[in-house]
Symmetry: none
Subunit: 226 residues, 2 copies
Amino acid sequence: MRILIVDDEPELVEQLGRLLQEQKYDVEKALDGEAALDKLFDHSFDLILLDIMLPKKDGFEVLKIIRGEGIRTPVLMLTAKGDVDDKIKGLDQGADDYLAKPFSMPELLARIRALFRRVAEHGDPVLGTKGLQLNTVTREVIGASGPIRLTPKEFSILEFLLYNRDRVVSRFNLAEHVWGEDFDPFTMSNYIDVHLKNLRHKIGDGEGTIIRTIRGVGYIIDEDGR
Amino acid sequence: MRILIVDDEPELVEQLGRLLQEQKYDVEKALDGEAALDKLFDHSFDLILLDIMLPKKDGFEVLKIIRGEGIRTPVLMLTAKGDVDDKIKGLDQGADDYLAKPFSMPELLARIRALFRRVAEHGDPVLGTKGLQLNTVTREVIGASGPIRLTPKEFSILEFLLYNRDRVVSRFNLAEHVWGEDFDPFTMSNYIDVHLKNLRHKIGDGEGTIIRTIRGVGYIIDEDGR
DNA sequence: TCATACCCTTCATGTTTTCTTCATGTTCAC
DNA sequence: GTGAACATGAAGAAAACATGAAGGGTATGA
C-alpha cells in the first residue's frame, strides 16, 4: 500500500513517515503542493494525506487538480484548526475523510485503516503479471511454481515495479521509493543492482524477461514484453 | 477477547466490566458516543456492547459511523425499553443482536457467548491447528501431550494468531490486540518476542513450525506449513 | 504483615537473516 | 576495440529475531 504524505512541517512528515513505514506502508513525502502534484502525476498511490495549508499550491487546489485529472485516489485531509468550513469545502471537492490537527497517531492509523478497508471492498490488493502474483496486504508472492519468499527490500522493489507496470522506472525512483530518507543519490555502491539480481533469481527471471532492463533508463515490467 | 462497553450509567458499566473481566474478557469502557468512537478508532475490539441512549452521539449514530468506516466488529445493542422499533432500526444498521434492559447477567453472558460462537463460524468456541486446541470460553489449551497452562498474555497471543490463521500478523497488530490501550508503539523493549518465546516453548514449538516467523513482516500460524 | 508464587517486563547476549560493499565479469552502443 | 552501464559472487556489517536470567509488581494465603 502506497501513501503520499503532503505537509509543510518536515518534522511531522518525518514522524508520520516513520510510523507508517513501521506499519509496512510504502511512504512518499512532499512538502508543498507542486511537489505533491509531481509525485501524483508520476506514480500511483493508494492514499493521500493532504494538509490544507501548503506553500505554492494549497490542499484544496491540489485536490481539485487531481480530481480534475481523473485521479480517484482516496484523500484524507488534514486541517490545522478543526475548522468546519474547511471540512465541508474539502469533502465537497472530493476528499474522503478529514482529520483535525493535532491528532493522535492511533487516531490517524485507525482512519487510514478504515479508508483502506473501504477501498479493499472495491479493488483487490493483488498485483500481478505473467505467472506472478503479489498481495500487498498479506505480503505473499506466488510464482509459477509456488510461493516465493522475498526479503523486505526485494518485496518493496517488486511491488514498486508492479505498481508502475508498463512504465519505465529509473533506478533513482526505485531507490528513492525503497530506501526513502536513507537514500543517498551520490553513493557509488550498487546495492540496487544486487537486490535486483537476487529478486530476479528468486522469481525465476534469469533472462530478464519479466523485469526487463532498459539500458541507460531503468527497469520495466510490461505485459506484452515486446 | 476484547470487549468495549458503551453505556452512560457508570454503575452498570462498572458491574458489567467486573463480570466480564471475571470471565477473562479484556474490557474497555466508554460513557458516551464520542468516547466510544475514540476508542473504536484507536483500537480493535472483538465485541461492542452498545447502549442506544447515549450523550453526545447515540448508539445508532455510533453504529452507523463505524459501519461506514468498515469496522465490522460484532455489536450487541442494549435498549432501555425493549422497544421493537429500536430493535429493527439497530439490526438494519448492522447490529448483530440486541438485548432489552433490564437484563440478567447470565442472559447477557449467553448472548455474548452466542455471538462469539457465531463469529467463530464453527459453532463452537474451539480454535485449533496441528495438535493444538484452544477453547475461547473455558480458556483451556490442549496440546499434543495434554493440557497446557498459559499465562493471560500468552493465551491472548495464541488466540489472536489462531483467530487470524493463514494470515500474517504483524507484531504491531499483535501488540495492539493483546495490550490494547497500554501499547506504546515506540517502546524499545522486546516483550513481544519474550512472550512469543515462552509461548512457543509451552506449546512445544521449539523449531517455530507451528508459529512461523516471517522475517521483516510478522508471525503466522498456517495449516499447510509450506 | 510477611512470605510465596506467579506473571510481566527489562536487559544483556547469542543466533540467523538480510543488506551493503567490493572486486570482477559481461554486455551493448559507439 | 573501448568505455559506460549493468550483472554476478562472495564476504563482512548491520538488522531482526531468539534466548536466558534477573528484578519488580501484584495477588494469595499463612
